[in-house]
Symmetry: C3
Subunit: 169 residues, 3 copies
């Protein structure tokens, strides 16, 4: 399993301490539901530009428990593959205690009673954290060639928002 690393110190850099900045923005979108994916890369990069941060870290965050922000390729075939995988691992047609209104007593909301989303919570928890932290270098997100910042809707069609926070020099 193990392989020896070939360490090449390609671009070391120690930025000056002066002018530390922090920048915050919230964006809104309406998702299409059904594991729809929105490419938000340009908006995140635009926020980095406006922040004036040259070197630092950009945190992109979903404040929703049934959405996810993830970095990966935006290619329709792959997004379809991932959707198939997620539905196979976390089937919608399944018993979820979260959706059992004979049992549930906590966090009861009309919204949830209208449309069950126990599977959406399980999907987002399985997929990991609510957001991604991406290094910023020379005012640009350090995304690889195929990397895009994606906003994933794991629940039905809804009004959503995401946050971006940039910290650096």
């Amino acid at each position: 399993m193990a392989s020896a690393p070939e360490t090449t110190d390609a671009t070391p850099g120690n930025a000056a301490a002066e002018g530390m900045k922090t920048f915050h923005r919230e964006e809104r979108l309406r998702t299409a539901g059904g594991l729809s994916v929105t490419d938000i890369t340009e908006q995140v990069q635009e926020a980095v530009r406006e922040s004036g941060v040259r070197d630092g870290v950009c945190c992109v965050y979903s404040p929703h428990t049934t959405c996810s922000v993830r970095v990966n390729e935006y290619e329709r075939g792959f997004l379809e593959d991932f959707s198939v995988l997620l539905r196979r691992l976390v089937p919608t047609e399944h018993y979820y205690a979260h959706d059992d209104w004979d049992r549930r007593t906590e966090n009861v909301s009309d919204e949830d009673m209208e449309a069950s989303n126990g599977h959406s919570h399980c999907m987002s928890m399985l997929m990991g954290p609510a957001g991604e932290s991406i290094p910023v270098r020379d005012g640009v997100l350090c995304l690889g060639r195929w990397q895009r910042v994606l906003f994933l809707e794991l629940d039905r069609e809804r009004e959503r928002r995401w946050l971006v926070h940039v910290v650096g020099v």
Copy 2:
């Protein structure tokens, strides 16, 4: 799969460079084992308050390889659903080379020999990073309506700890 974003720049903000702060705290807890989940939101928010950081990022981190810090809803039904899902995807009753004492030679500890936890490692690796990074705005964690910061025990009942680090202005 794709949906067009409706960009509304809701709360842009560029904080002044002066007074950058960093704050660190460690908390301890005793977990109940069996995929128990502890809601640590109030303690994380209290750390943010004490840090004096108004705008920045809060990193909540588990220094354990068989625990996880995750942001999601704290609702018993959902936590039970997720526990069922995780046990289905990563069954405890399975061969794990990590627990095979006829083979294993690395990182041998009495602790591990007493209680096998190969499945716990697999669960935490599948679930993602050791922690979550949450934006802080106006001295408050930018959690959504249902979001809570959760500490997940994926192994047996144990003494555990988690770290919180806040960076910002």
Copy 3:
């Protein structure tokens, strides 16, 4: 599922605002393919040392869509277990629209046509974000006893790179 937290404020600390630093480095490696895992902990710690940051956050990041940076134990048995799990959940021998050259029209590259990697994308997306954020305290990564920083190759043998960005005082 729930357990009461036993809060002990072990090491609170509010660092001075002066001397905020940001440090960036890129490292290269050649992976072995086949879900190989490289332990990059020493190089990450070395970057933290060179950054001069005593208190802050270290972001370790993979700019590749079919690799992952994760914190967990480096023990060959466990890495084998995880590899078995990942192949079971995301089988290589499966239909992936990403690899269907009769259908695919986006992001077409010779590289992908030579070797299908739809399963690698699905694995990395399922595993979570591209990187990990680790708190730094007294110039040292706050890794737990068994935690190591791991670079995972989810695709075939390739030239790869990873980034480390440290922000703090």
